[in-house]
């Protein structure tokens, strides 16, 4: 039955409903499988650094297969313990006879996870070893956040598996099943969104509400990051944007807009959990923001961008399913 024009909700209400009404992501089976493979590869990057070669497939493949043999944890002390290192001495991980087998088991576990073995089994070693190694690294005096989002997602995926096992939702002792995979990805999406919302809350608290106003000073950090990037590898290309800070300081509003936009994007990232359209909207927005910062400061954010692309934007789903009418898309998704 058609709704009479006078009864139709207004444009704003219809737009808000279109973008933000709660809908099931209805992940098709193939998408769950693809995401498991993609996430396994992302986790493996923290042991091999293969993503640095993502534009050169053969070198990336070589890194995936061989770089783990060169990986070495060298820290024999943890002078500034962080996380679980406050309670446990994690320096045993620098012992090659421990590190080597754990890394090999991580590789095997990630392959099993990609093949569909239940997350509670297959992600136990990658999660515990990955987090412990990163914690030891972060217990040296500096805190790195490069893989923090990924390890948070990994932990949540593992916990999702344990939760389903404990609540009797796992149908098989060994196989996770696609239902478990869907719930895991849903939890992973919630975990990633939480990281962005928390980042925004911290900005508001630490700046006493003046984050947007003080964003004009971001240009000083451009100089700092470009200087550090230069001294990392002595690559003059790192200094190519050194003219920009002076321009931005002369136009503080432009700077405030460029970086201030991050605050609402991050603070409202939870809206991206509502449905595929909102997820794509926030996913693309946050990737664009990361990309802008990458261009200006040489900070990569590659793992965050990859996670946003896979869990929020889902380009392959939009290509294969999303462009169809909701009715057709729904029938495919549930198949």
């Amino acid at each position: 039955m058609n709704t009479a024009p006078s009864d139709r909700p207004g444009f704003l209400k219809r737009s808000l409903s279109y973008w933000f009404r709660k809908e099931d992501f209805a992940m098709p089976d193939w998408e769950v499988v693809l995401l498991r493979v993609f996430l396994a590869l992302l986790v493996w990057d923290t042991h091999t650094g293969w993503i640095a070669f993502w534009t050169q497939p053969m070198q990336a493949l070589h890194a995936i297969l061989y770089n783990a043999f060169d990986a070495d944890i060298t820290y024999t002390t943890q002078p500034h313990p962080n996380g679980i290192a406050m309670w446990f001495d994690l320096t045993f991980l620098s012992n090659d006879s421990v590190e080597g087998p754990l890394r090999a088991l991580t590789a095997l576990s990630l392959v099993l996870f990609a093949c569909g073995i239940a997350a509670e089994w297959s992600l136990a070693i990658p999660t515990l070893f990955g987090i412990a190694a990163a914690t030891l690294n972060n217990s040296q005096g500096s805190i790195g956040h490069t893989a923090q989002g990924l390890h948070l997602v990994l932990l949540v995926l593992w916990l999702a598996g344990i939760y389903q096992r404990l609540t009797g939702r796992s149908k098989s002792w060994l196989w996770g099943g696609l239902g478990q995979g869907r719930m895991g990805m849903n939890w992973a999406r919630q975990g990633l969104a939480a990281a962005y919302v928390v980042s925004a809350i911290t900005k508001v608290i630490n700046s006493q509400g003046l984050w947007f106003a003080n964003a004009q000073y971001f240009s000083l950090h451009l100089l700092k990051n470009n200087g550090m990037e230069y001294h990392d590898r002595l690559d003059p290309a790192a200094l190519k944007m050194d003219w920009l800070p002076a321009v931005l300081m002369e136009h503080p509003l432009a700077c405030q807009f460029l970086f201030g936009i991050a605050l609402p994007l991050e603070l409202l990232a939870f809206l991206g959990l509502q449905n595929r359209r909102a997820a794509a909207l926030f996913g693309i927005g946050l990737i664009c923001f990361h990309e802008t910062v990458t261009l200006l400061t040489n900070l990569s954010f590659i793992l965050n961008k990859a996670l946003l692309l896979a869990l929020f934007v889902s380009p392959i789903w939009w290509l294969l399913v999303g462009w169809r009418s909701p009715k057709d898309a729904g029938s495919t998704a549930e198949s």
């Binding site: 996380g83 914690t135 500096s142 928390v198 911290t202 001294h231 990392d232 939870f270």
Partner: protein
């Protein structure tokens, strides 16, 4: 008023909000006494770039002749990590001095001591120690970036050095 349990029951994305609560408020509260409040890997309140000020700095390392070094490949640590470690040493020194003096105003000998211990830490954790065999010493330099009088100014100074055997 609805009981809290009913509101919680109807709250969508409970895990999401639990993590937000944990990372934004609970962990920062529980780690408030540590020198990195809010950090409990893999949980974090992501404090980087949460506060912009009209002054910042970074550090870099050269050999004894002030020749720049490729810090990443040589030491296996990014310059940002080295800066964070140095900054933490200055924070420790500041606390030891009663916390009243600014880090930048710490006496040169205290800053030199902090710089030396950072350089020693870098040497101790260098993945391939033979790569340092040609250097007779290492120097830590500090670059201050300040917005003052309507312009951005950068100044570099030597913070400390370490002789290599």
């Amino acid at each position: 008023m609805q009981p809290v349990s009913q509101i919680l029951q109807r709250l969508p994305f409970k895990l999401h909000w639990l993590l937000v609560l944990l990372m934004a408020f609970v962990i920062p509260l529980l780690t408030a006494h540590t020198d990195k409040p809010g950090e409990f890997y893999p949980f974090s309140n992501f404090p980087m770039y949460s506060r912009f000020e009209p002054a910042t700095y970074y550090v870099y390392v050269t050999d004894e002749k002030d020749q720049d070094l490729r810090m990443g490949p040589l030491f296996g640590r990014a310059p940002s990590d080295v800066k964070k470690v140095y900054d933490r040493k200055l924070n420790d020194a500041k606390k030891a001095h009663g916390g009243k003096v600014k880090k930048a105003d710490l006496p040169p000998e205290i800053r030199a001591e902090a710089a030396q211990s950072v350089l020693q830490w870098l040497v101790d954790n260098t993945p391939d120690k033979s790569s340092l065999s040609n250097a007779k010493g290492l120097r830590l330099h500090r670059v201050d970036i300040v917005f003052t009088d309507g312009a951005v100014k950068q100044t570099t100074q030597l913070e400390g050095e370490l002789a290599l055997p």
